[in-house]
Structures are given as C-alpha cells and as structure tokens.
C-alpha cells in the first residue's frame, strides 16, 4: 500500500514527523482517513518492534472543571442577567450560580506517553485521533508545525478550493475569490503557507509569485520530480536553483523587467510579476536579487565591477565633477541603449578631479583629487585665496553589495560619462 511506503520512508528512514494533514496532502486522502492510516501504521510497526514509532494525539472533549493548570477562563464564566439596574451596580450579583453555563471544550495535543494522564483530566472525551507520527518522542512539539508548513509548501500548487474536498475541509459554497489581476494559476495563492520558519528565508511572500513565473517555465519538468523524490528540500530553493542554472538569460530578463535599461527584447519574458499589484514591485525587485545569488561567477563579477564604477561615478556627480576617462568599460553598450527622454544636457564643469581606488579586504583605499582652498599672501601683500586640486588618500568601508546595483548597472556608466553631472531627474528616471 502506497501509504505504508510513504510513512516508512518518511518516518523510519528520514526521521521526519508526519502529521495527518501532511499525509492527507501528500496522498490526497481525506483527513479522517489519514488519521486512521497513521494509527494503523503506528500499531503495526510497534507490534513488529516496540517503540519504533512515536505518536502524538489530539483529544477533544470537556475537561474537568477544577482544573489545576490554566485556571482562568473556564469555570467562572458566569452568564447571568444583570437586570435592568438603573445604574452601574457597584456590586455585581452573585456569580457563583450558573458557573457552568459556558461550555468550554478543550482540544489538546498530547504526546503518546502523556496520553493517559491527559485523558484523566477529561470529564468526557468526544474524540481522540492521531495527530502525527515521528521516529521518537519530540522534546519540542513545535517541529510539527514545520512538518505541516513543509507539506503545505510541497503541495503549494494544490488549489485549496479544488482539493479541499479531498482533504475533508469544510466546503463553503459562497467563497468569493477574485481572479482579477492575479495570474490565472490560482495555486500561487498557496505557496507562502510554506513560508519557512527561519526568518532569513522568510523574507517577503511577494517573491513567490515572482519566482513561480520564472521558474516553472524552464524548470517545470524537473521540479515536480525533485519535489516528490526529496520532499524535504524546500521547493522554492530547488526551483530557483534550477532556473538559475538552466536559464541564465531568463534571469537577465527578469531583472530587465525591472531595470528598464536592458534591451527591450528580453523583457516580455516576465510580464506577470509586473502585472501584480504595483505595491509589490519594490519588494519583488529585492527578492529577485536574493533569489539568484551569484548564479554565475561571471555575472557576479560583472555586477561587482559595474557597481563599483557606478558608485564612483555617483560620487563624482556629487562632487560636481566631470567624469574622467579612466573607466568607461561599458561604453560599448551605449549604442544599444535608447535615449531616455529624461536625459539632461551636460552642464558646465568646474574642474576635473581624479580618483584612484583599489579594493582589498572589503575596504576601498586610494587617492583622490580634491579641491583645497589655499590662502597665501602674494608679493603685493594681498591675501589671495585659490582653489587647487590636491591629492589626498582615503580608505573607507566598501559599501555592502546592494541590490540596486544589479538593476542599474550597465546602462549608467556609458551615459554618465557623456554628460557628467546629469539632471537629477535623469538619476531617478533612467534606471
């Protein structure tokens, strides 16, 4: 039977907890049936060899009222009439009467070894079912959440509206879901459920739709298999890797959809992300970068370089300086690029300042020319103030590799060289 295989593989071989919901999703069976499958597996395995499988249970029912631990919120919920007292009664009517008026049902998650103790706290039990199976007792039950999230992530493509019935979810005939601006494959709605627990990975859900667009196109064939065969691997990573390797050009186009400066031809590849709500674009942009960290060495190197150049250029622009000739590596790209309307006429430059920079160990060191004011007394006794370019050395932290670099890179250098300090609008407008 398929389910036994699944459980043996996951619980016994891979030592991963399986909850009835993850099982239900993986095998596409009703949740109630999944509970029974778990129970049977647990019984059979432990019959063969005791304590090979550990279970957690969920008990629902009514707990005894004089309950030791969480004393609040159970008994004393009086449900009394406060009459038509004309004004705030300074003392409330006795509340001990009818203290049982509010039915409190408990739904409690219990480890296998605590099951009997837990049952003892119940006055009446309406249901007990297996919640999960795991190879050994869990010191921290929270790992079960991870199991659930992982399965949700793995089966992110299943539209809850369609599969819900299979899983045994309560159906609602009146659900209204917009399809409007979203891409038609609705399952996109689901993936973030899969959001991993580590906050590093869990940046912004916006990235998922994005990557969904990008990855499936090329990696579609391979991905489902991957996901199935090693469900532990978070799908997002798998797909991003796939797309990164299989489709470097795709990556470029993705960026290009944000950084308009790239040749137009590639842009159409990723129109959907942009079609999403505008609000997200900012976020997705960042995600995009993080998703493909240095997929190819070359690209990374190029990025670094161009970023550095851009920075320097920016600095110079700030310094009111005309760009010098020492670094225009991308000038050849210029012809490809169409002029953006916002480009400004080259303004007049006061002087030329130069800069020589080396980067090592994350620090930028170098010499740069700065204008110094010197005041001297000339031979006639007048004080003369003169501005002279002088060299000074500097060393500063290399700015952290930041995502904007990825978007802006190629277009800028070429342009800036031509015109030195641009109109401020062109700075904002053209990337």
């Amino acid at each position: 039977m398929d389910s036994k295989l699944f459980l043996a593989e996951n619980v016994l071989n891979e030592h991963r907890p399986v909850t009835y919901r993850s099982l239900s999703r993986a095998l596409k069976v009703h949740a109630n049936r999944a509970k029974q499958i778990l129970f049977e597996f647990h019984r059979n395995e432990n019959a063969k060899k005791p304590a090979t499988v550990h279970a957690t249970y969920v008990i629902s029912g009514i707990q005894k009222t004089p309950e030791p631990a969480p004393a609040n919120g159970n008994g004393s919920d009086e449900d009394k009439m406060m009459g038509s007292s004309p004004y705030l009664p300074s003392s409330m009517p006795d509340q001990d009467e009818a203290s049982d008026a509010v039915v409190t049902t408990s739904i409690v998650l219990v480890r296998e070894e605590d099951l009997e103790d837990a049952k003892a706290t119940f006055q009446s039990i309406s249901a007990i079912h297996v919640y999960s199976l795991e190879p050994s007792t869990l010191p921290d039950l929270n790992v079960l959440i991870d199991a659930n999230r992982e399965s949700a992530r793995t089966h992110a493509q299943d539209d809850p509206l369609e599969c819900g019935k299979q899983w045994g979810m309560i159906q609602n005939r009146n659900v209204k879901r917009r399809t409007g601006p979203r891409p038609p494959p609705a399952p996109v709605a689901k993936p973030p459920v899969a959001k991993p627990k580590s906050s590093a990975e869990s940046t912004v859900p916006a990235k998922r739709p994005l990557q969904k667009e990008a990855a499936p196109v090329k990696a579609e064939a391979s991905k489902p298999d991957e996901a199935k065969s090693q469900p532990s691997a978070p799908v997002p990573q798998a797909s991003s890797k796939a797309s990164g390797k299989a489709a470097p050009s795709k990556k470029g186009s993705l960026f290009s959809s944000f950084a308009k400066a790239k040749p137009k031809t590639k842009a159409p590849a990723a129109p959907e992300p942009a079609a999403q709500d505008v609000v997200l674009d900012d976020a997705s942009e960042e995600e995009a970068e993080e998703l493909f960290p240095e997929s190819t060495e070359k690209a990374a190197a190029a990025n670094r370089e161009s970023r550095k150049e851009r920075e320097e250029r920016l600095k110079k622009m700030m310094d009111d300086d005309e760009a010098d000739d020492e670094e225009m590596p991308d000038a050849d790209e210029e012809p490809q690029r169409e002029l953006t309307p916002v480009e400004a006429p080259p303004p007049i430059k006061p002087a030329e300042l130069k800069e020589e920079v080396t980067v090592q160990g994350g620090r930028r060191r170098g010499k740069r020319q700065v204008m110094k004011k010197t005041t001297v007394k000339d031979e006639e006794g007048f004080l003369v103030t003169r501005e002279e370019p002088t060299w000074e050395t500097f060393s500063e932290d290399e700015p952290a590799p930041k995502k904007p670099a990825v978007n802006v890179p190629k277009s800028k250098p070429g342009k800036a060289q031509g015109q030195g300090q641009g109109n401020i609008m062109s700075f904002f407008g053209k990337k």
Binding site: F39, L88, D114, N148, M169, P192
Partner: protein
C-alpha cells in the same frame, strides 16, 4: 499506548473504505457598516479642534439623559424641597436642590496632559503607557467635574465613590451646591441603553431555507499575537485544523466540540501580531555608515509575523469568511478609529477580499474583510459592535479597583471589565475617553462613538480572560394600550450579550456565539504539559 480494542472514537482504527461525505458550512449573512470608515487621502483632515466632538456628544445625548432624569426626578420632593431642573451647569444656585446634565470630566494626577508636555518641551511621539491615571496614595487628587458649553462644576459627595465615571460620559446629576461651590451629588442618571433594532432589521430578513436550518455560530478570537517564530503557532495550528473541520468528525453534530461547519464567520478582534514589526530604530542607526535608504529596508523590517498571519488567513479563507479588525499592535494607524490593515500586507489572502474601491466608492464587503476598529455591522441579522480593547483598557485607567470584600483580585478585575463595558452601553458611548486619553481622529460633524442604536453583541478584544454577561435595558413603560407585543416573550427591552474576549496567545481560547440564542461557548486549544 492505546489498546486498539478500547473505544476507538472512529479514528483509532484501521482505515475504512467508507466514503467521507463533503461537509458544507452554514452560510454567513454579513453586512458591515461603515460607521468608522474615514475618507481616504486628502479628504481626511486633522486641523479640526476636538472640542466639536464633545459638543456633538453632549448635544446628542443630553435629550436622552434628561428624559431619563425627568422620568425619575420630576416632582420629587426631598426634605420638603422640590427638585428643580437646571439648564446649564452655571445656573446652579447655592443651596438649591436641582439636577443638571453635562459631560463628565475627570482630572487625574497621572493623566497625560498635553499642556504639561508642551511646557516641558517634551515632544514625544506617544505618551508612555501608564497602567493607571489615578494615584492610589492620593485619592484626593482625583477631581470629577461636570461641564457643558457654559462652564464646569466640581462634583463631590459620597455617592461618587459608589459609582464609576470616566471622562466623556454624559450624565445627569442630582444634588445641591455646597458652601465651597462644589456640587454635592446624591444621585446620577445615565442615558441608558439606546433603542435596539430588531434582528434582521439591518438587512434582508431571513429566507427560511437558509437560516432556518439550525443554529449557526459566530466565532470570535483576539490577540492571536503571531510573532512569526515557531513558538507561538501550535495552538494556532490546532485552531486552523478546527476551523477547517479537520478536528473531530464533522458529521456528529451534537458532540461537545461544536462542529466547525456551524461556524459561519470568524471575527478577529485586534492584535493579530505579537512582535513589533519594525526593529529598534536606534539599533539600526548606530550601525549605519551607508547612505540613508528609503522604502523597504529588510534590515529594519521583520516581515515574518505578518507573513505568518497572511498564511493563516489564506489557509482558512477557502472555507470560512473572516472579518479582521486591527488592534493596538497591528500595522494600522494608531488613533481610533483604526482603519483596516491594508490589503497589501496580505499578498495571499487579499485574493479573497473585495476589489479595491474605485474613486469615492464605498468599499464593499469582501469574503475577507479587513475592517476598522471600532467596528460595527450586522452578522446573521444581529447588530455587532466591537473594539479591540483600547476603550476598556483606557477606562480602567480612570478607575481604582479596590479588590473589595476579599474576592480574588483577578475575578474582580475581569468583573470590572464587564462592568466597564456595561457602563459604556449605558453611557451610549463606545469610546468615551476618546479624544481625551485615546487618540482619535478629530471628527467634526459627527461623533460616531455614540451608540445610536444598541448592539446585540458588544465585544472587546484582548482582555486578560474570557468573560461574558447579558444585560437588559429599562423596559419603557407603555401607557397607551396598543403596544405591539409581537414577540412571544414580549421583550422589547434591549438585551445585549457582552463579550470580553481573551487573548488567544495566552489562553488559546476561541469564543463561539450561537446565532439563534446568543449562547456562548468556548473552545480552548492547548498542548498538554506534563506537570
């Protein structure tokens, strides 16, 4: 370990081949009101003076409270003296027995005072949270005053000790002015409960087919306190399972955990997020050598709680409609009325919300409805009025709660909460202390905090523990014979179900209210801890 031959509850047995019938959820009748919806963008002004709100409140409620007072006190003779009605507080004459209506103002030693802040050049963005405004060591410092457009009158007397008042309430006081010029109070009347609409009055009446088939439940939860770490989520996971119908056998209707399919709607009353979303600003500014970055900054923003909330909502939304109110800790504006959490925060769940309003259109009610706080609306025909708890918390800062008659302090405290909620209903004001000590939008032509019609369910979120009570209004006397006593029980008097909703992240409690009887039921989710 369970022996397989004991009671198996239907699940502790080998898988059966039995086909599971799909279960369908009872439909929800929902029509939110937009009482607290503020105009967007440029139409929202903050230049107005807050005085207008008090003026409007007094103008609206004075006739009601005067009516109540007149019924009670007209023709009353005390010690041979006729009780006289006085129009304005300044017209009270010394030694004369009279009654007058006005707005209560309380001067408390620890109350935040904007003038004080200004003189100390203390321009903080928010006043530091205080547990109480009173000074228990110095009860004399508390002054209760009554004011109207003409002036202020200090209230004194032993009677005040047995009542609870808060700034902003409109009351009528009976008494006499003493030699100090203070008004010695011997009785106080409130506007009492507002007229209550009948069920279904707000919207299309029931069409037997859909609503007649048994009772539904409205589920309330508050203080989910999602932090995005894995520590907070097991109870939430169990809650999700329950709402989706995975817990228990949904077919059995009468077993104690009410079948989740009866739940027609989930109302989340505030503080869905636990951790603060923005990281400490000082911590980030210390390390910054980089140029200032505008917009999204991943280092200063922890998206994990809201993402987790979004996932939770997206998981339950395919099955159950949700009304989400913001709370103190949620990413919404701070001053009341808080506007709904923006849909951009919910990339997954927003597919279920109503399409964004175009232009000046009123936003429609979506399957997923991110509403204001406070919020009112009609659910299953009942009028609901709720707040995420700021109103109750703030009034409690006005009141010293002595743990009287040796009862355990905790129960006194939660009783006090229910009593405060009752008082608000009888004051006909949902947030009396706004705009004094709760930040509020400066309404100019309307004071929406007045409860013009009495709700059927009045709830406040984020309370320390669950409490409920039913209160009844005064039955108006009908002197003319032809009253329409159509109700079987003849209950024309307003009846209100008061709910103090507990924080879910502390108690794991979900509150269910029956849609026919307004009976309350609690479901608690927890993880068994071995002692």
């Amino acid at each position: 370990m369970m022996a397989p031959d004991t009671q198996n509850y239907g699940f502790l047995c080998p898988p059966s081949e039995q086909e599971e019938e799909p279960v369908y959820r009872t439909p929800s009748h929902y029509s939110p009101r937009l009482t607290y919806h503020l105009p967007a963008g440029a139409a929202r002004h903050y230049q107005q003076q807050y005085g207008d709100m008090y003026f409007l409140r007094l103008a609206k409620l004075k006739p009601s409270v005067e009516q109540v007072a007149k019924d009670a006190w007209e023709g009353l003779v005390i010690a041979g003296e006729n009780v006289r009605r006085v129009d304005r507080v300044l017209d009270v004459r010394q030694g004369e027995l009279c009654w007058v209506a006005g707005t209560v103002y309380m001067e408390l030693p620890m109350k935040p005072n904007i003038l004080e802040d200004l003189t100390k050049e203390n321009f903080t963005s928010a006043p530091p949270p205080r547990r109480t405004y009173t000074d228990p060591s110095n009860p004399e410092a508390t002054q209760i005053m009554m004011e109207d457009e003409s002036g202020r009158l200090r209230l004194t007397g032993n009677f005040l000790r047995s009542t609870q008042l808060a700034t902003g309430a409109i009351v009528a006081a009976l008494g006499t002015e003493d030699a100090n010029g203070d008004f010695e109070v011997i009785d106080i009347k409130l506007p009492d409960l507002a007229p209550q609409p009948r069920r279904w009055e707000g919207k299309a009446p029931e069409n037997g087919a859909e609503t007649g088939n048994g009772n539904g439940k409205i589920a309330f939860v508050s203080g989910l306190g999602i932090t995005g770490t894995s520590s907070d989520t097991l109870a939430l996971e169990l809650l999700t399972d329950y709402l989706l119908g995975y817990t228990g056998r949904s077919g059995k209707a009468d077993s104690p955990p009410t079948s989740a399919s009866k739940i027609t709607r989930l109302i989340i009353a505030g503080n869905s997020l636990g951790a603060s979303i923005t990281a400490d600003v000082t911590a980030t500014s210390a390390t910054k050598a980089q140029p200032k970055k505008y917009g999204y900054d991943a280092s200063a923003y922890n998206a994990s709680p809201i993402t987790q909330l979004d996932s939770f909502l997206a998981e339950i939304l395919p099955s159950i409609p949700v009304t989400l109110m913001p709370g103190e800790k949620d990413p919404a504006n701070f001053s009341l009325p808080q506007q709904g959490i923006h849909r951009a925060m919910f990339p997954q769940s927003r597919a279920y919300s109503a399409p964004p309003p175009r232009g000046d259109d009123k936003p429609g009610a979506g399957w997923f409805d991110s509403v204001t706080n406070p919020w009112d609306g009609d659910v299953e025909g009942w009028r609901l009025w709720g707040c995420s708890g700021q109103n109750v918390d703030d009034i409690l800062r006005y009141i010293t709660i002595e743990s009287s008659e040796g009862s355990p302090a905790s129960s006194t405290r939660s009783d006090a909460r229910i009593r405060v909620m009752e008082a608000m209903l009888r004051w006909r004001c949902g947030v009396p202390t706004a705009p004094d000590t709760i930040w509020s939008y400066p309404y100019q032509s309307d004071d929406p905090y007045i409860l013009e019609s009495c709700p059927h369910i009045f709830f406040a979120g984020n309370q320390p523990e669950f409490k409920t009570a039913t209160i009844e209004g005064h039955v108006p006397l009908r002197l003319d014979g032809d009253t329409d006593m159509t109700d079987a029980d003849g209950s024309d008097a307003p009846r209100v179900r008061i709910l103090a909703l507990p924080k879910f992240n502390e108690t794991g409690q979900l509150v269910l209210v029956d849609t026919e009887t307004l009976e309350v039921e609690v479901i608690r989710f927890e993880v068994f801890q071995q002692k």
